[in-house]
Symmetry: C2
Subunit: 233 residues, 2 copies
């Protein structure tokens, strides 16, 4: 086989192509939950791609819970049934790259929840972490320095305090994508930062006093500018 280095897009297309072929294979062979897929070598030969590519696609399907690999044994169809499998496969293949609006919409949704949960569940250690991040943010802003990182860390500290590992993971996933878009669209400015100090302080105080309503309300205020901006792109 000819060696060829792929661009990110070509790579993704090949990837999706293999995933679609695996789906068709499962359907054609009527493989049911628990059944074993042909070996990676057989698949790579049948699809006329390298074994590495097959492995990568299988790993993605494992990430989404559709397949399960067992070492030295084989790759198996997970227990989610044919109908669900096909539905999820279509979803996975149709996944678009996230746009800025959907990112912001999701971030606001998540953070309005994390701040409420954090107000309920925060420990003393969480408070210290948040306060540290808040002080670092203040110092940067008052020195007229860029404080995007410290802003971010304060929000991540809240997410950690909400004691929900799934939400926490999702915040981690969207955070870098948000940052990249922020830089691309130049969302931040100095005036915002000064207002931000008070807003961050209000949020922190509400969490400290375990006032869930107030915490959510203050977070809403904090996101107001971003919300407006996002919906006027």
């Amino acid at each position: 086989m000819k060696l060829q280095i792929l661009t990110k897009n070509e790579h993704k297309e090949l990837h999706n192509d293999i995933i679609a072929k695996i789906r068709d294979l499962i359907n054609n062979k009527n493989l049911e939950p628990g059944d074993k897929l042909p070996s990676e070598r057989m698949l790579s030969e049948r699809f006329n791609v390298s074994r590495g590519n097959v492995r990568e696609s299988i790993q993605k399907l494992e990430f989404y819970g559709i397949l399960k690999s067992k070492p030295q044994s084989g790759t198996f169809v997970a227990d989610i049934g044919q109908v669900a499998m096909n539905g999820m496969m279509d979803d996975i293949l149709g996944l678009e790259d996230p746009d800025f609006k959907s990112l912001v919409e999701t971030r606001i949704l998540l953070e309005l929840k994390t701040v409420r949960l954090a107000a309920q569940r925060r420990t003393d250690a969480d408070l210290i972490k948040m306060e540290t991040a808040l002080e670092a943010y203040k110092e940067k802003v008052l020195n007229n320095e860029d404080a995007v990182q410290e802003d971010l860390l304060f929000h991540l500290a809240i997410a950690q305090a909400c004691r929900n590992s799934t939400i926490n993971r999702m915040m981690l996933i969207i955070t870098p994508e948000i940052i990249n878009n922020f830089e691309k669209y130049h969302v931040c400015d100095k005036d915002q930062s000064l207002k931000g100090i008070q807003e961050h302080q209000d949020i922190f105080d509400a969490i400290k006093r375990q006032n869930t309503q107030k915490a959510k309300q203050m977070m809403k205020v904090h996101f107001n500018a971003l919300y407006q901006y996002c919906y006027n792109i």
Copy 2:
């Protein structure tokens, strides 16, 4: 080097170990955004692990937006700054496996949003997809068959209609994990399924009439049993 096959847990530990070492390296060498990391070969030698392990760790850090690989050139620190980088690294290293409660909590949060957005934004094509899934669900339940898959597909159809690729992606991530836990804890039963038909119908009707308030309310009702169950584990 001795060959050794790792269990999933050992694999994860090695992985986190390498990530921590990369973080320390960036800090010690004071690498700033845009700077180049040592090559994969150098890292694998320095950390005394295989190059494949290093590659895998780098790919994870790329997923979270901390590093960027450029083919035939090198791996670079992303533009998020040292403070943010350290904060996110700690978060990534501290990520726990998702527990059932956090999954359900997150699913309810996401779906109360998707149903509202779907009611606003659904197209005719979305309606058809949802109705198809709904009819399949009805048929299964009325025939006294297991309908977990069809249930799931209806909810995924709503998620697609919400026109938010990020939320959609997150629904896809947690869905298989939810299913696995459902099976483990035997959440579903027959009585729920019969009630489920009416609840699904109510949700669908509200989305069709674009009644956002009603849609959210009906989804809340639909999740009530799950919510109670989850908080009493």
